[in-house]
């Protein structure tokens, strides 16, 4: 199986799907002539032409809404946000239009659209360019929220998202575009939405991690293995709908759980996962659920402060040792 980057995997997903379905178009800032701010759409303009790969003005509310309108009448837009930070400008169309159209029209207008782009922290871009917004979007029924952590998942999940008939928020991680992994070449390879993946099996504690936190959790698990602690890493991959069953099954096996996330803890996805674990597996827990989240502060610029703001291997190791009462 070829080893490619997450960036290339996403590119393959869009290319294959655009070949399959003429109704798919890609629109966003710098997606065409510039080849994508992060080069995810590299080569697509040359392959599909400017009818289907469209550079938009810097007008997030406008082109997000344009996408939703096009989806109302049967097109299948992929709307790229240069980063999800800029999607904040488009939330009216994502939340008030895309998420609710099917419902408030009594089932008449489905919105098959993907809003995708990088989210989370990059490197030293400070507060406005380093936000993990999944808890915002996951709050709304009508939206699906997907966060891949490997190139193969990125490709398979994006293809599923494009084929899905509902609005999907597809958050890639800015620091992970260069991450490499084995990715199937089969044009029919997909990863279903709403299904978690056990990235590493273990028996002593579970780390529930998504996106950037998955490789960090795997590294922590490796280190903990050396210390005699067997850690299971569960990646929900889709935040909404959440595969709580797989998470709960893991907790029932390990009885200890750490939820790792790059977003803020308060009202966050980790809080939701913790609450659901408590609801479904309270009697199986040998320790309170532990959350490891981003610092409860805007992202700073200074390198040393930024490092402190994002959960790292050391903090995850300490958290697992804490729930295992090892120290």
């Amino acid at each position: 199986m070829p080893i490619i980057t997450m960036r290339e995997a996403l590119n393959q997903a869009m290319r294959e799907e655009m070949h399959r379905d003429e109704n798919i178009f890609l629109m966003g800032e710098e997606v065409a002539a510039y080849q994508g701010a992060y080069k995810v759409s590299k080569g697509l303009l040359e392959e599909f032409g400017d009818r289907r790969v469209i550079d938009s003005p810097i007008t997030e509310l406008g082109f997000a809404g344009l996408g939703v309108g096009a989806a109302m009448v049967g097109l299948r837009p992929i709307i790229e946000f240069m980063t999800f930070n800029f999607s904040i400008l488009a939330t009216d169309q994502i939340i008030n239009s895309a998420a609710k159209m099917l419902y408030m029209s009594g089932g008449q207008f489905k919105i098959p659209i993907v809003f995708r782009g990088p989210g989370g922290s990059a490197y030293q871009v400070s507060s406005q360019h380093s936000q993990a917004l999944e808890s915002w979007y996951a709050n709304f029924p009508g939206l699906k929220v997907v966060m891949p952590s490997t190139p193969a998942d990125a490709k398979g999940l994006l293809k599923s998202a494009i084929r899905d008939d509902d609005p999907v928020i597809f958050i890639e991680q800015e620091r992970m575009y260069g991450n490499k992994g084995e990715v199937p070449e089969d044009a029919e390879f997909t990863v279903p939405l709403g299904v978690a993946d056990v990235k590493r099996e273990g028996s002593d504690a579970t780390i529930v991690a998504r996106s950037l936190m998955v490789p960090i959790a795997l590294k922590a698990a490796e280190e903990l293995e050396k210390q005699g602690v067997s850690v299971e890493v569960v990646d929900p991959r889709t935040i909404r709908p959440l595969d709580i069953e797989t998470i709960v099954n893991s907790v029932k096996k390990t009885n200890r759980v750490v939820v790792a996330e790059e977003s803020h803890a308060f009202c966050g996805v980790g809080a939701e996962i913790s609450a659901q674990i408590t609801e479904h597996a309270f009697d199986y827990l040998d320790a309170p659920v532990k959350r490891i989240s981003a610092a409860d502060a805007p992202m700073p610029y200074a390198k040393n402060l930024e490092k402190l703001a994002i959960p790292d291997v050391e903090r995850l190791i300490a958290a697992v040792r804490e729930v295992a009462y090892l120290d």
């Binding site: 007008t59 309108g69 096009a70 009448v73 008939d165 509902d166």
Partner: protein, 374 residues
């Protein structure tokens, strides 16, 4: 035929810079002589237009306006009785805009509008039965009882809402027009919004894209001169909305919204431009709502005299009078139309009354088109 633009407001009265009191003063300054001259001119213009349009179209436009007026009166009544809940924005006074504009469309063209949408969906061809049932929150409603007054939808006539956020429908309509062009159909999209929506970024962003990409979308600003309780003068630095079109290099028109045929004609030109050249148009239609912003609005921000001034040019009254003077209709034909409209609305009420409430399990349907099992 030429469209004589009414004098845009800012040329007839200087915008107030001192707030509410001054603005009210300006609107109350009615010079009876000037007003009569203007009314005479408008009457003559409509009568000229009548000569150029076939009788069947004229009667259809009149009937639709009467039907919408009676429908809205009945909605107000039902709201007062507690049969209709939530927000209910009536279209009384503005009927000429939706009826005139939609009269210029083909059935497969698309329409989107704001929450003041009862008139538009009826003019697009949805049965008043389904519209009234929706206002009643019944299963037989055009949105299955899930949208209500502000979110009317009917895919069978390409009526795409009914949108509750001021200006939210403008990017959507732009996307619908984009899709038509993408697919190479010659369908046109009509997007209605109030003048208050013009102050939203969504308006600016959409018109910029529409002209940039030459999308077949017609933006119809129903300038009823109030954004809820805030007058145009207090909310907009440049009050001539049609004058904003040049900022996007777009064609702009200014139309008398109390003349259904002026709206019809201006829209026809814009439709031709959209269908044949794939170009957008911004049409400002100067109109006036006779009722409050919604049913819960006491209307303290404007005077009785101001409302009455506009009611003198009630679009249904004016059109009926002109059709009579041109011998297109007589009193008995009008009476017959009134009777038909009342009966149609009465049937709609009966339908709404007898339609069942949505089943409880409908709370959780239509959230996802592809619900996932987990």
């Amino acid at each position: 035929m030429k469209i004589t633009p009414m004098k845009p407001r800012s040329q007839t009265a200087q915008a107030s810079t001192t707030g509410v009191a001054a603005a009210t003063e300006v609107t109350d300054q009615i010079n009876p002589e000037e007003l009569r001259r203007e009314h005479d001119q408008r009457r003559n213009e409509q009568q000229e237009r009548i000569e150029e349009i076939d009788r069947e179209t004229l009667l259809r436009l009149l009937y639709q306006m009467i039907l919408i007026r009676r429908f809205e009166e009945k909605s107000a009544e039902a709201y007062t009785l507690g049969k209709i809940g939530g927000f209910c924005h009536l279209y009384i006074g503005q009927e000429a805009v939706a009826v005139g504009a939609l009269g210029a469309l083909r059935p497969d063209d698309y329409v989107l509008t704001s929450y003041r949408d009862h008139g538009h969906i009826i003019a697009k061809g949805t049965s008043p039965d389904e519209v009234m049932a929706e206002l009643y929150g019944k299963a037989g409603g055009c949105s299955a009882g899930k949208g209500g007054s502000m979110h009317l939808f009917d895919s069978s006539v390409n009526f795409l809402g009914g949108h509750g956020i001021v200006g939210g429908q403008i990017p959507l309509a732009t996307g619908v027009a984009f899709a038509a062009k993408y697919r190479g159909t010659d369908q046109v999209t009509l997007c209605f919004f109030g003048e208050a929506a013009v102050n939203q970024g969504a308006f600016h962003e959409s018109l910029n894209m529409a002209q940039l990409w030459k999308l077949p979308c017609i933006y119809i600003c129903e300038n009823n001169q109030y954004g809820m309780g805030t007058s145009l003068e207090r909310a907009m630095s440049l009050q001539d909305v049609s004058q904003k079109a040049p900022a996007y290099n777009m064609a702009g028109e200014f139309v008398d919204g109390m003349d259904v045929l002026a709206v019809y004609e201006a829209t026809k030109h814009a439709v031709a431009r959209a269908r044949e050249e794939s170009l957008p148009t911004l049409i400002e239609v100067r109109t006036y709502r006779f009722m409050g912003h919604s049913m819960s609005d006491p209307g303290n921000y404007r005077t009785r005299a101001e409302i009455e001034k506009h009611q003198e040019r009630d679009p249904i009254k004016v059109f009926t009078q002109n059709l009579k003077e041109k011998n297109i209709v007589d009193d008995s034909a009008i009476a017959d139309m009134e009777k038909r409209a009342r009966e149609e609305v009465e049937r709609a009420v009966q339908f709404a009354e007898s339609s069942p409430e949505p089943a409880p399990e409908k709370l959780f349907t239509d959230i996802y088109a592809n619900p996932l099992s987990r």
